[in-house]
């Protein structure tokens, strides 16, 4: 078995007793997997990602990251391996400048300042935002904030990347930039998104969720071209596969 992997076995979770948001989820992901998690609003995609990093621990079943069980005593160890990009960049960014925010994680992990600087520069270069290095976060546009959010996790050099709706707030050029960044990341990545075109461009495997359960797990080009399956679960074909008929039907 490869070094980097995630094992989720029969996981169920609910914020309130008797109201299950996720039910009997099982998933195995290995080192070079790129997985898109898709589903209509409120099916539990974000909640599932949060369980993987231990932001909610009251689940039943088992989650193991590289053979380490997700539980209170292992959180620091697990979180050092995973980079998590929040849906809302304003929740992710809390320092004054892009540099300070990107340097936050490497500094917390006790790296020497020279190495922190190298990692920040590298993360800025990878996301193509070196020019934003000293810019204050509150002066940034939504797209700029999203790219800085991604850079904040790249500076951790994580084994696994989890992204919750990463293409929100991005204009076409930045979206293309995001696709390039995601495709250049060689380790395991899991992307929860409504943007099926993004999933099509970046993920080889897709997990379709509905009502807190996994409905289908398979190759992206099979699932995202199955119009019937998608429509049954509140989705549509990716825009690039819908064809252009001149006017909306």
């Amino acid at each position: 078995m490869s070094h980097i992997h995630i094992d989720v076995e029969q996981v169920s979770f609910g914020y309130e007793k008797g109201k299950e948001i996720l039910g009997q989820i099982s998933l195995h992901a290995s080192e070079r997997d790129s997985i898109g998690i898709i589903g209509a609003n409120g099916v539990g995609k974000s909640t599932f990602l949060k369980l993987l990093v231990g932001l909610n621990l009251d689940f039943s079943g088992s989650i193991r990251i590289e053979e380490i069980p997700v539980e209170k005593r292992t959180l620091a160890q697990i979180r050092s391996k995973i980079g998590y990009v929040f849906q809302d960049s304003d929740s992710q960014l809390f320092m004054n400048t892009a540099y300070e925010d990107i340097a936050f994680a490497p500094r917390n992990y006790g790296l020497p300042e020279q190495e922190v600087d190298r990692r920040v520069e590298e993360a800025l270069r990878m996301t193509g935002i070196s020019h934003l290095k000293e810019k204050q976060i509150y002066k940034m546009s939504g797209g700029e904030k999203k790219l800085v959010s991604i850079a904040t996790i790249l500076s951790m050099t994580p084994d696994i990347i989890l992204m919750d709706e990463p293409s929100i707030a991005l204009d076409p050029r930045n979206r293309r930039n995001l696709i390039r960044i995601l495709n250049s990341f060689e380790h395991l990545k899991i992307i929860a998104s409504h943007d099926l075109d993004l999933v099509l461009d970046t993920c080889e495997r897709t997990v379709l969720m509905a009502d807190g359960r996994i409905v289908k797990d398979g190759p992206t080009d099979v699932i995202l071209t199955d119009r019937e399956l998608l429509e049954e679960n509140g989705l549509e074909l990716p825009l690039c596969l819908q064809g252009r008929t001149g006017k909306a039907e």
Partner: protein, 266 residues
């Protein structure tokens, strides 16, 4: 710019000032914190009629303003809410304090002197505090507090409160903007909407604050900025800066430097 946007801007502006690469900004935060506390203690320790002695203490804020290249006018503008309050505190002294003090054989109303002294003390203390936060980031200040063994829970509370103030203000801004767009003929928020709006604000702020905290946890935060201590080492210049100002405060406290210097020219 509405009031809330203005407040958010002010907070970000203070962050920007404290993150500049000025010489004073690089001085060890513990030195600046200790100096500020000693300065304020020294200022308030002057006798109530000792206007000249108290006025002499202006030397510290003046020097820091110059060293930090901060605009004095901008600072006064920022302190426009606090300064009148400080001045107002002593306004009744001329009526309450009927003593007379002899200065060079001239009888002066003690109430006026004590009012001036009180105003000077208040203004100088506010200026010193302003200079501290304008030249030191909150993270560095928290680090200095931890070095003084202030409990971790108190320091974390202070730091996160500062971070969440903007979160709260942004939520207030969103809610009031959404309200005003649908109530164009109202001057303010109708009292019937106060309850639901306050409830919404609380719930949303808690959610946002929780997400910010989660984001910190996911990037290795474990209760305090461990790395700060290593980054802000104590160097010889810090010690020299500390000793120099402690000396200046002692001299100005023990001798009426302003009167001595004035005497040289008279």
């Amino acid at each position: 710019m509405n009031q809330i946007n203005g407040a958010i801007y002010e907070i970000h502006h203070m962050d920007m000032l404290s993150s500049r690469d000025q010489w004073v900004n690089r001085v060890h935060p513990l030195v600046k914190l200790v100096l500020t506390v000693v300065y304020i203690s020294t200022v308030v320790s002057f006798q109530k009629y000792d206007v000249a002695g108290t006025a002499g203490m202006l030397v510290y804020p003046m020097a820091v303003f110059l060293l930090a290249e901060l605009s004095f006018a901008d600072s006064l503008k920022r302190l426009r809410i606090v300064l009148p309050l400080v001045c107002f505190v002593g306004i009744l002294n001329p009526f309450l304090d009927k003593h007379y003090v002899l200065i060079d054989g001239i009888r002066v109303n003690g109430g006026i002197l004590s009012m001036v002294t009180l105003i000077l003390k208040g203004v100088f203390s506010v200026l010193a505090s302003y200079l501290l936060i304008a030249t030191t980031s909150v993270e560095k200040l928290c680090c200095a507090l931890r070095m003084l063994h202030v409990p971790k829970a108190v320091v974390t509370q202070f730091m996160l409160t500062y971070r969440y103030v903007t979160v709260l203000l942004e939520e207030v801004n969103r809610i009031t903007q959404a309200y005003m767009l649908r109530a164009p003929h109202q001057k303010g928020i109708h009292f019937r909407a106060w309850g639901p709006l306050a409830g919404q604000l609380l719930l949303r702020s808690v959610d946002r604050a929780n997400e910010v905290y989660e984001s910190m946890l996911l990037r290795g935060y474990q209760g305090e900025y461990q790395y700060m201590r290593e980054r802000i080492g104590f160097v010889r210049q810090d010690l020299a800066y500390l000793l120099f100002w402690l000396g200046v405060f002692a001299v100005f406290r023990m001798w009426p430097v302003i009167l001595v210097v004035g005497g040289l020219f008279s």
